[in-house]
């Protein structure tokens, strides 16, 4: 906001100018603002497939309280979710269903492979179990543990937040538009 005047007293008395606003304005880059909003409102798609889902539920409950990180809004509709937390053993029978739910999630989206099974098949070296969900989806964060404790999931979530902080959504979008028009 700029007020073109030579008289400072007149500027201060301008009716439309609220001097209290001074402390409430933050200058930043659009990328940072978008990243800040995204990382603090990660809505999880809880892909609970085995015992890790119990720890996921514990993470959502009061003691560990995932809402401290803005990720408490578990969405059972993939269309409203931002991060898929694959918590549990992915069997081959389930694998393409997980993939399909992932594809129904709108961009931008991230994926956390929670626990040994989702990361690598875990102890199930077996004909029936997919050896890591990263064979089907791009995984951003792997969490070790069998199952991981809720603190580990929160640590993974914070890691994901740091990943999001480093993203360049506007630049990516411009690059995408350039690519589409060229």
């Amino acid at each position: 906001m700029s007020v073109a005047t030579e008289n400072p007293a007149q500027m201060l008395s301008h009716a439309a100018y609220d001097s209290k606003v001074e402390g409430n304005i933050i200058f930043t880059r659009l990328d940072s603002a978008i990243n800040w909003m995204r990382k603090n409102s990660l809505w999880p798609m809880p892909m609970g497939l085995a015992c890790c889902a119990i720890e996921l539920m514990a993470t959502g409950a009061a003691r560990f309280d995932i809402s401290r990180f803005g990720a408490e809004v578990m969405r059972f509709s993939p269309r409203q979710a931002d991060v898929m937390i694959v918590s549990g053993t992915v069997t081959y029978k389930m694998a393409l269903a997980v993939r399909r739910i992932w594809e129904q999630m709108p961009e931008p989206k991230w994926c956390i492979a929670m626990g040994a099974c989702a990361s690598s098949g875990g102890m199930y070296r077996s004909y029936a179990v997919l050896q890591g969900i990263d064979q089907l989806l791009p995984v951003d964060v792997y969490i070790s543990g069998c199952p991981p404790r809720p603190e580990a999931l929160l640590e993974g979530l914070m890691k994901l937040q740091r990943i999001i902080e480093g993203e360049t959504p506007i630049k990516d979008q411009i690059a995408g538009i350039r690519e589409a028009t060229s």
Partner: protein
């Protein structure tokens, strides 16, 4: 006489009733091991023997249906029925040898619970049940080409592909399978990969 003793007597007399009713050609073997009674019957007589157990001897509760792959033997497979009563008074095991390609008569009309058990046997071992109302796979997907509990099937699995339904691959065993070493101390007896890893 103890309660278990009376139970064992009752099952023993059930076994001999079966032998008397069906004869040696149909009820081939009867034996007892640690208080558990087993009768081995001819596959062709399985349906009538099970029916007799259900209606005359009072085994109204089917605990489990399972199957065994004795690869190399002939007949290769064996089907096992675990019969019991709802008051847990007695327990009888009925087995029948099944050759490759032979069909097993369904027990669904005797015990409704046989429906899913038989589907599991079909899914995992590939034994077919004659007269089953809904014989399709129950754990693996319809169209999976193998029977995973057969002896020739590797633990790591085999690759398969069914577009838009499911696929499967080979699990890395890295020197496995992971096996326990019985008889050693508990730390050394833990499941570990033996050999190559």
């Amino acid at each position: 006489m103890s309660v278990t003793g009376r139970k064992a007597d009752e099952v023993r007399s059930d076994s001999s009733k079966l032998r008397k009713q069906f004869g040696r050609t149909k009820v081939r073997e009867m034996f007892e091991f640690r208080g558990e009674h087993t009768v081995v019957v001819k596959l062709g007589a399985l349906e009538e023997v099970l029916g007799y157990c259900r209606s005359v001897l009072g085994y109204e509760f089917l605990l489990d249906v399972s199957s065994v792959d004795n690869m190399g033997d002939d007949p290769r497979f064996e089907i096992v029925y675990e019969l019991a009563t709802t008051d847990d008074r007695k327990h009888l095991r009925v087995k029948a040898p099944v050759a490759e390609g032979e069909e097993v008569p369904t027990a669904v009309h005797l015990w409704k619970t046989a429906n899913w058990h038989e589907r599991e046997v079909y899914d995992m071992m590939g034994l077919k049940f004659k007269g089953h109302p809904n014989l399709k796979r129950i754990l693996m997907w319809e169209g999976y080409p193998y029977y995973p509990l057969r002896k020739e099937f590797p633990l790591a699995g085999k690759p398969s592909e069914m577009p838009d339904v499911a696929f499967s691959g080979i699990a890395p065993l890295e020197g496995g399978p992971f096996v326990t070493s019985p008889g050693t101390d508990r730390v050394r007896g833990e499941p570990r990969a033996k050999g190559e890893s």
